[in-house]
Amino acid sequence: MATKATATLPPEAAYRSPNLWLEALRNLRHSPSALLGMTIIGALVVIAIAAPVFATHDPIKTMIGVPGETGRLPSKPPCLPILGCEEPLHILGLDLNARDLYSRIIFGTRTSLSVGVITISLSIIAGTALGVTAGFLGGTVDNVIMRLMDVVLAFPALLLAISIVTILGPGLTNALLGITITFIPQYARLSRASVLSIKEQEFVAAERALGAGPLRIVVAHILPNAITPIIVQGTLGVGTAILDAAALSFLGLGAQPPTPEWGQILSESRNYLFTSPHLVFFPGFAIMVTVLGFNLLGDGMRDALDPRLNRV
């Protein structure tokens, strides 16, 4: 309805559209950091989806015994015509198992992006459910849930994730679960705070007077009003989750070989830092750029969606 109304109005009026999301999008367009963040993430999503197109080799195939691959095995520096190297093309060289590093990093995009997004989605769902329940019901339920969240927050995040993965056993799925648990309290606190401030407002009281049940009030009124800070926090969280997952893999607790995962690639070659620095440099650089993308977008979104900041 809002779009119909604005369509007939002159442009000046359309600019004052009451739709928060449209306004936020417009703000995002004017934020260089958000634009850069979106560009980086967009490019990474394309790379992740079309990984087989971008990759030059099979990421888990060793080049030993492959015709034409003589004399440069394993762990050789990048081979490009521009560097005066005529041998088979290996953009970033070969890793210690004589696999194409570039293709491994390209496929690693899939792992890292999905770990980041899945972790944060799961913790938003669990955290919001807990926070809304706590805030809406109050009393003992609220106390129990929030004290539990305090306990989770009392552990340094990576340490808690390490402990959880120790029990569940190393592996990408368990690492993902461990990281998810460390993120839940953030979203529980955020959503609880929103619920507490919204549930006392008159429109909720009116809805209740009209006979709406608690579920309807939560889904139709409280959640839409509480979602903005959660989305901002979530975007920033994806970056941190990717860093944590890479750290767990680096410690040997996350993705297991031969899965191409950036932290794992780094971990495999870290003892060869002084002889083959390129094996360490590129996967780490990939992690940094990805996390930077999410941080830039998150920052931009916070500025665009937080009306309090707009006034300053």
Binding site: S33, R147, L148, D150, V151, A154, F155, P156, A157, L158, L159, I162, S163, I164, T166, I167, G169, G239, L243, A246, A247, F250, L251, G252, L253, G263, L266, R270, L273, F274, P277, V280, F281, P283, G284, F285, I287, M288, V289, V291, L292, N295, L296, D299, V312
Partner: protein, 358 residues
């Protein structure tokens, strides 16, 4: 103020109990028979029976929990399965490395982060500001372990024969064995065992070097500390710089700053005496929150720079399934984290009366 401190203390107690409950549960959720893990695969049923009785493992769970809490209250964290030594001794031996690393990392983060943040707020939208913010964004996105490795490569390989060369591993030059300050000053006779706290303090190399007035040792320890401390401190630095910037920006827009300017105060007084004092409050909280990051960073950095601190010992113990050590170290780190946050909160309440009376 006292009321506020007591309230804050009582608030920490349920969290501390929660930590104990969580670690207790985690330790019992670990798959595998503890008897076989400790005594080896060939332990017979009789031996295991005796083992269970000795360690109270045949008691009902609530009783086990009470035993566990009593032991912890007495400072007994059990014996490490791998080292066959009390976990507490290992902690006293290895925590100093981590404490030293964390302290220098935070010092680096604060001493660079706060001035950078203040400067970029004061010169809002200038080249300094934009540069700092770009740097801060890259800083928070940096994988600690990667940064550590890259620093090691840069300073130990590329700058090898220059005056900037720095050692890529260890706490001191191999072969160096500093004499503890308590022996130098005759507090403890040589050959006698020192008190835990003295031993702990003497293991902090920089402190020991200062206390024994050993300049060479101090330089050596500092040279070994620079790279890991920078690696651990970079993310906190970026966060502190961002926080100081936004906090100073907000304060500079306040009416009382305008008033201070209007009544003709010199700019230095306006910023130094009026703006900074108030702007630093949120920064203190952020510094407190960064302890968690420092510990996570230490876990990764100690592994890279071959420092036998708490972090590296923890990671090694996980791979060798030394559960008592993992459990003991985790409890101590989490409890320390809670205490530090409590101190930060109390400091915050002391500095800002509004918090105290809220």
């Amino acid at each position: 103020m006292l009321k506020f401190v007591i309230r804050r203390l009582t608030f920490s107690i349920p969290v501390l109990i929660g930590i104990l409950l969580v670690t207790f549960t985690l330790a019992r959720a670990i798959p595998g028979d503890p008897c076989l893990a400790v005594l080896g695969e060939r332990a017979t049923e009789d031996i295991c029976e005796a083992f269970f009785r000795r360690n109270g493992l045949n008691e009902p769970l609530p009783v086990q929990l009470l035993i566990y809490m009593r032991n912890i209250a007495q400072g007994d964290l059990g014996d490490s399965l791998r080292f066959h030594r009390p976990v507490m001794d290992l902690l006293v031996e290895r925590l100093p490395t981590t404490v030293e690393l964390g302290t220098f990392a935070l010092l680096f983060a604060i001493s660079v982060g706060v001035p950078l943040g203040v400067l970029s707020a004061y010169r809002h939208k200038s080249a300094v500001d934009v540069g700092t913010m770009i740097g801060a964004n890259i800083g928070v996105s940096m994988p600690v372990f990667w940064l550590g490795l890259m620093l090691a490569y840069l300073f130990a390989v590329l700058l090898k024969d220059t005056p900037f060369a720095l050692p890529p591993s260890g706490r001191l030059t191999p072969g160096a064995s500093p004499v503890p300050f308590y022996i130098v000053h005759g507090m403890v006779a040589e050959g006698e065992e020192a008190l835990g706290i003295l031993f702990f303090l003497s293991r902090i190399n920089t402190l020991n070097a200062v206390l024994t007035l050993n300049g060479g040792l101090l330089v050596d320890a500092l040279r070994h500390l620079i790279l890991p401390a920078v690696a651990v401190g970079t993310i906190p630095l970026a966060i502190i710089a961002r926080m100081s910037r936004s906090s100073v920006l907000e304060v500079l827009n306040q009416d009382y700053v305008r008033t201070a300017r209007a009544k003709g105060l010199r700019e230095r007084a306006v910023v130094g005496r009026h703006a900074l004092k108030n702007a630093m409050l949120p920064v203190i909280t952020v510094i407190g929150l960064n302890f968690g990051l420092v510990i996570s960073g230490a876990v990764l950095t100690e592994t890279i720079f071959s420092l036998t601190g708490v972090g590296r010992t923890l990671v090694d113990s996980i791979t060798s399934r030394d559960y008592t050590l993992v459990q003991g170290f985790t409890v101590v780190i989490a409890a320390g984290f809670v205490l530090i946050n409590m101190v930060v909160d109390i400091m915050y309440g002391y500095l800002d009366p509004r918090i105290r009376f809220n």
